[in-house]
Amino acid sequence: MPALARRPAMSTRREVLYFAVRNRKLVIGLSVVLAFVVIAVVGPFLARYSPNTIGPDVRMAPSAAHWLGTTSFGEDVFSQFVYGLQNTFVVGLLGGGIAASAGMVVGFVSGYRGGWIDEILNMITNVFLVIPTFAVLLIIAAYLTVRGVVVEAVFIGLTSWPWAARAIRAQTFSLGGREFIGIARLSGLSSWRIIFTEIAPNMASYLFMTFILLFGGAILIAATLDFIGLGPTTGGSLGLMMNRAVLWSALQFGMWWWFIPPGVAIMGVVGGLYVMNVGLDEVFNPRLRAM
């Protein structure tokens, strides 16, 4: 073992930070995501038009007056873009958060308790994995007359947790066999306490990375739903922009500014999250660190 192991000065936290700021993937991914966050936050202050106000200039290419051009209705694409971007983050955070929580609860309980509880939860997870949840989402969405971004996020969250549950279960299972868990168990702590004070902190990095993946996943699912026209009925979204661009023949009229920016933003945010995730993996996992 190298001498480093004995040096307490370099605490794990500092070490993680050290690698974090030097990891190119993490830095690039995070910068891209943050750049879009900035656009989403600052954009509305820069937008000179409200997103759904129809204007006299229709089908205008990007110009000084309309930075990203206008739609067939003369709406300002930039305004729609920034508000849509906001909603994208809301859906991602909320949907990803709900899915991560559900996955954690199921995964922890299943992996820690084992036995018939595990069997039942496993079965439920399998059913959810096999059911084409997207198709179920479609049906639900089609029948909810008034759908907000939040409702959409909740449904996405409630259907996209299974793989996370499965992964967390496996991790919990292997952690559960460790000595310190055994000690905690012997000391008479309740299961929930052990899960939250012993197991979860030991998997914190893993859980965080799971959340990031679910975050990106929720954004993609939402974009897909919106694109089919089953997204939020109140408020705009990036998927809805693409939906309307297609419906109103932006492709045929060459109005690339209507459907390119929303896709770029989704690809950027989700791609940024994914790259960030690999970067984090390298930071948290010493074996993958390149010197």
Binding site: I54, F73, A142, Y143, R244, L247, Q252
Partner: protein, 577 residues
């Protein structure tokens, strides 16, 4: 395990790549040539779309909303045709038909009519078809509310007796709406089969024969033995008609621009900018300028009259003044539709519009006037400037159109923005079609847009839809707003019993109805939906237009028998083939 063996795998990927490249290179060439040459000669085939939004599966004219494009008109034929553009009835299967007494209508068929299986089409078929209406589930069952009997006088003559004064308007409508069916084939069918069956391999009398269909296309082939070739000296120009079922208008636009469609009866957003050679596309429409399209029906704002504040005629009239229809016409439709007359009467019915009434009671978008009307009627306004009930409760009206009806979806968003300027809060939403139908029919809605009633021979069809009584628990057909006005309803019935030739009588009844309509405002007419028709003139020319001949240019259900069958005879191949 083979998946780990490198060579074979790469060979596979390589093969796909080579195939892809080959495809791309040949695709370029053949997409610009005529890819269809092998099957239906392009110069003899008419490609059309716009009616069929699902796979063609049904050739039963009784299944009125779903039969494959052309089932009535190309395959089965009606006794008369009616051309709404010049208000003319043309005898078709019938040679003539008239009231021979106040309650007897005598119908004479053309001689030499035949079914495509060679059997003659006779009075017996007409009697059989009309008799079928005695069953409640047959779509034209309503004729038997005033019809007493139908009898075959001889092979070409049918006599119909009415119970009392005939419902002239409805009867005239029947004569060109429902087709005559072959008794020798249909009489052995069960009622369920007649009502709900698919009628595969149909035997008709019309100018086209069923040839083939698949998931996306319906193919008709010209009937070489059609009676009309001799009797009417009409020859259908296209040997084949291919009707393309598609789900989205943008796809139809692509096909039209690529010369894969000759006649698109789809709503094509932005078409105005392509008509007349802009962009070099050979695309034309009925009118060379706005509104480009004929008007096919009126889009109405239906209000739920059982709900506050929509039960207040003053509020309804104020709402009418808050409808920013010019903005819809401009931004949603780019001027391919026209705003409606305040009476909702289609342009072809303009003679029935009482202009003095329109002057005094008509409306147009005027948000400040709408706002003023509400204020003077005692409505309160909240701190956000939005109207509240007289007792101070916020009002938020939900306006629904079906999911996926993109022009209406955009339209109601524009209307909501316009209404907000008048201080009326409207929230647009888009339930799935069936969900909307359920809400609408059960009276569980605030505002809904409806255009079920198409152009027809008589404004009666509009008024019975507007004022129809009785009000049932489920209103599945008309008067969705549940407007209860027996006076108006008896005026509608009076109109029904006015002979179609009695224009003066019709006008007087209609004027009274318009007085009620404009003052009570049970529904608000918004705009005329266009009779969408875009022609690509690469393969076929001489399309109907304001400068050529006046024929409805669409193959939508119900339109071939309103004259578009003539269009098929009049178009000309650009290249003889």
């Amino acid at each position: 395990m083979s998946i780990f063996k490198r060579r074979r795998g790469w060979a596979g990927v390589g093969a796909v790549a080579v195939a892809a490249v080959a495809l791309l290179s040949t695709g370029g060439a053949s997409a610009q040539q005529t890819p269809l040459a092998a099957n239906y000669p392009r110069s003899q085939t008419l490609y059309t779309s716009g009616t069929q939004y699902g796979p063609p599966s049904n050739w039963n004219p009784m299944v009125t909303g779903n039969y494959a494009t052309g089932t009535i008109g190309l395959l089965y034929e009606t006794l008369f045709l009616y051309n709404p553009l010049n208000n003319q009835f043309t005898p078709w299967l019938a040679k003539s038909g008239s009231f021979t007494s106040s309650t007897v209508y005598t119908l004479t068929l053309r001689p030499g009519l035949a079914w495509s299986d060679g059997q003659p089409l006779t009075a017996a078929d007409v009697v059989y078809t009309i008799d079928l209406g005695q069953y409640t589930a047959v779509p034209y069952h309503n004729i038997w509310t005033y019809l007493k009997s139908v009898t075959e006088v001889n092979t070409t003559t049918v006599s119909l007796a009415f119970k009392s004064t005939p419902n002239y308007q409805e009867w005239a409508n029947f004569l060109y709406t429902y087709p005559i069916l072959p008794k020798h084939i249909w009489q052995s069918r069960s009622l369920t089969d007649i009502i709900t069956g698919t009628n595969p391999n149909p035997i008709g009398s019309g100018p086209y024969l069923y040839l083939a269909h698949d998931q996306t296309t319906m193919v008709w082939q010209r009937n070489p033995n059609w009676w009309g070739i001799k009797a009417l000296n009409l020859k259908m120009a296209p040997k084949y008609i291919v009707d393309v079922a598609n789900q989205s208008n943008n796809v139809a636009l692509s096909l039209l621009l690529q010369d894969q469609l000759d006649l698109s009866n789809n709503f094509l957003p932005g078409i105005a900018s392509l008509v007349g050679g802009i962009g070099g596309y050979p695309i034309t429409t009925y009118y060379p300028k706005a509104p480009y399209m004929l008007s096919a029906n009126t889009a109405w704002l239906v209000m739920n009259l059982k709900r506050t504040p929509l039960n207040d005629p003053v509020f309804r009239r104020a709402l009418a003044f808050a409808m920013d229809i010019p903005a819809v016409v401009r931004s949603d439709y780019n001027y391919i539709v026209k705003g409606s007359n305040p009476t909702g009467m289609l342009p072809t019915w303009s003679q029935y519009v009482d202009q003095t009434l329109v002057k005094s009671l008509g409306f147009s978008y005027n948000p400040s006037k709408a706002n003023q009307m509400l204020k003077s009627a005692g409505y309160k306004f909240g701190s956000n400037g939005m109207v509240e009930t007289k007792s101070g409760k916020p009002i938020n009206l939900s306006l629904i159109v079906p999911q996926g009806w993109s022009d209406w979806m955009a339209g109601i968003q524009i209307l909501a923005q316009g209404a907000a300027k008048a201080g009326i809060q409207i929230t647009p939403s888009f339930p799935a079609y069936n969900s909307l139908v359920a809400q609408r029919n059960s009276g569980n809605f605030d505002l809904v847009i409806n255009n079920d009633q198409q152009i027809s021979n008589t404004p009666w069809s509009y008024y019975q839809w507007m004022f129809g009584l009785p009000i049932l628990k489920t209103q599945s057909y008309r008067n969705y707003g549940r407007y209860n006005n027996p006076t108006a309803w008896s005026l509608v019935q009076q109109l029904d019993r006015t002979p179609v030739t009695d224009t003066a009588g019709m006008k007087s009844a209609i004027a009274k109805l318009q007085q009620i309509q404009l003052s009570q405002m049970p529904v608000i007419p918004l705009w005329y939906n266009g009779m969408w028709a875009q022609y690509n003139t690469t393969t076929w020319s001489n399309w109907p237009s304001s400068s050529t001949y006046q024929t409805v240019p669409t193959l939508w259900r119900g339109y071939p028998n309103m004259g578009s069958v003539y269009m098929l005879a009049k178009i000309k191949p650009v290249k003889a083939g």
